[in-house]
């Protein structure tokens, strides 16, 4: 597998789910043998990985949220974040 392409529709893989607690303040993604605490952009990316939105759309949303970061940088960071999670079988696309 490789990084997502524009038309990819990332979603949480089987057996992985978001758990939001403490009045929307704490987010973790749970997977079979562990959990990742999510903060900032990581959480925003995963909350959009619903299997409906395309990678292109998710990048667009993040670019609007992080204007100072530069479009290319946001795209690159989002792609490598998803690629890492895909290799761990937390995200599929």
């Amino acid at each position: 597998m490789a990084q997502p392409i524009d038309a990819s529709r990332p979603r949480l893989a089987r057996g992985c789910r978001l758990r939001i607690t403490n009045n929307d303040n704490d987010a973790v993604v749970l997977f079979p043998e562990g959990a990742l605490r999510l903060e900032g952009p990581g959480r925003q990316i995963l909350e959009h990985c619903d299997g409906q939105r395309t990678f292109q759309e998710i990048v667009g949303t993040l670019q609007a949220l992080y204007i100072g970061a530069g479009h290319a940088q946001v795209r690159e960071d989002t792609a490598s974040f998803l690629d890492q999670l895909q290799q761990q079988r937390i995200v599929d696309y």
Binding site: M1, E33, Q87
Partner: protein, 377 residues
């Protein structure tokens, strides 16, 4: 206040249709009469959810042996826990699987003893391999996260590639290749299970190659045998730091094997809340933190990574539960481990090829080169 544990390991029953020679259950097990009731477990799961625990690992024995398993999973799910069923697959039909998934089961881990019935049977002490293959195919036909676990050891490491190919064909999301850990029944069978250095090195290369080949398709996690390590494992993430285990009778332990350590009294969830146990139970406080640590752990920079290793292993190999884990290259007790390894690596030192193992049952165990796990009364 200690922060809450991350996960609860619930050993629902010690009853098991398999008799695996590498089982890490204790040699002395409580019988079915003392098992917690459905209501007791549901209460524990509710408390675990309220404390903020994330994962619940349902194991045993064989958890499918509990006829109330669906109800237990439903209760855990509504308490907000991520539910993981660790099973041999014996007792799982498609119909039962569907009800477990409907109840909220998040993940199934199915174990295999080998890639063929002929080889798996003498390890499991039961003719269950073909059934497991059927169960694996049923699980894969449903939309649930699926891990296949291979326990590897001296008897099967030489054909690890074949076993990996076998698992690959069953298409789980994850494959766990776990070297046997020497507790309980596995400790009594250690000379038949502990691999040679050559076997270990070959297995690491095989696992590395498989990991690369299956990248993005099947995630491979592996556990190496700590007797060959330079530093100990962070057993259970440190004593009473992140995990709590409840045994079938309701006793709360900091780890699977803690019952071997003399003098520890375990509090029971019938008498105390899970939160009280986590905060106050003397068994949990015994080796929590660093004040119990001997030299060289006390001044070692690795003490915050491995927490001095495994307390049970320290007791089992040195007779002192407060010693540095003897697998550590810095431990005074390391010579005990080195002597064991020397024996395992001698040309004629250990059981490499026990008698033809085609059709043996636990009833024939007097002739076996190892002992099978037996069920409690």
């Amino acid at each position: 206040m200690m922060t809450a544990p991350l996960a609860l390991i619930a050993e629902l029953t010690y009853r098991c249709p398999l008799h695996c020679i590498y089982c890490s259950n204790p040699l002395q097990m409580s019988g079915s009469k003392s098992e917690l009731s459905t209501g007791d477990w549901l209460q524990v799961f509710k408390q675990a959810g309220e404390m903020g625990l994330l994962h619940l690992h349902l194991t045993g024995g064989e958890p499918l042996g509990r006829l109330d398993l669906t109800e237990l999973i439903a209760g855990a799910h509504s308490a907000g826990l991520y539910t993981n069923l660790i099973t041999s697959g014996v007792g799982l039909s498609e119909c039962r699987l569907k009800t477990l998934i409907q109840a909220g089961l998040d993940h199934i881990q199915l174990s295999f003893q080998d890639s063929t019935d002929r080889r798996a049977r003498p390890i499991a002490g039961a003719p269950v391999h073909e059934h497991k293959v059927k169960v694996a195919r049923i699980i894969r036909s449903h939309d649930i996260a699926f891990t296949i676990n291979l326990v590897v050891h001296r008897q099967n490491l030489d054909h690890l590639e074949e076993m990996i190919a076998f698992v690959e064909e069953l298409a789980p999301d994850r494959m766990e290749i776990a070297h046997a850990q020497y507790y309980g029944w596995a400790l009594s069978n250690r000379s038949a299970l502990l691999p040679s250095k050559e076997q270990l090195d070959n297995s690491l290369a095989t696992i590395g190659a498989a990991r690369q080949r299956l990248q993005g398709r099947i995630r491979i996690d592996s556990v190496i045998p700590d007797y060959y390590a330079r530093f100990p494992k962070a057993c259970m993430g440190g004593w009473a730091r992140s995990l709590v285990l409840i045994d079938p009778s309701g006793n709360a332990l900091p780890c699977h094997a803690a019952g071997v350590i003399p003098g520890l009294q375990f509090d029971n969830v019938r008498d105390h809340s899970l939160d009280w146990i986590w905060q106050e139970s003397p068994a949990f406080q015994k080796f929590r933190g660093e004040t119990w640590m001997p030299d060289p752990c006390r001044g070692c920079e690795r003490r915050t990574q491995d927490f001095g290793g495994c307390r049970c292993q320290a007791f089992l190999l040195t007779g002192n539960a407060a010693a540095t884990d003897p697998v550590c290259s810095l431990a005074p007790g390391r010579k005990v481990v080195d002597a064991i390894l020397l024996r395992q690596n001698a040309p004629d030192g250990a059981l490499t090829n026990p008698a033809d193992t085609s059709l043996r049952t636990p009833e024939q165990r007097t002739n076996d080169p190892w002992s099978y796990r037996v069920n409690p009364e």
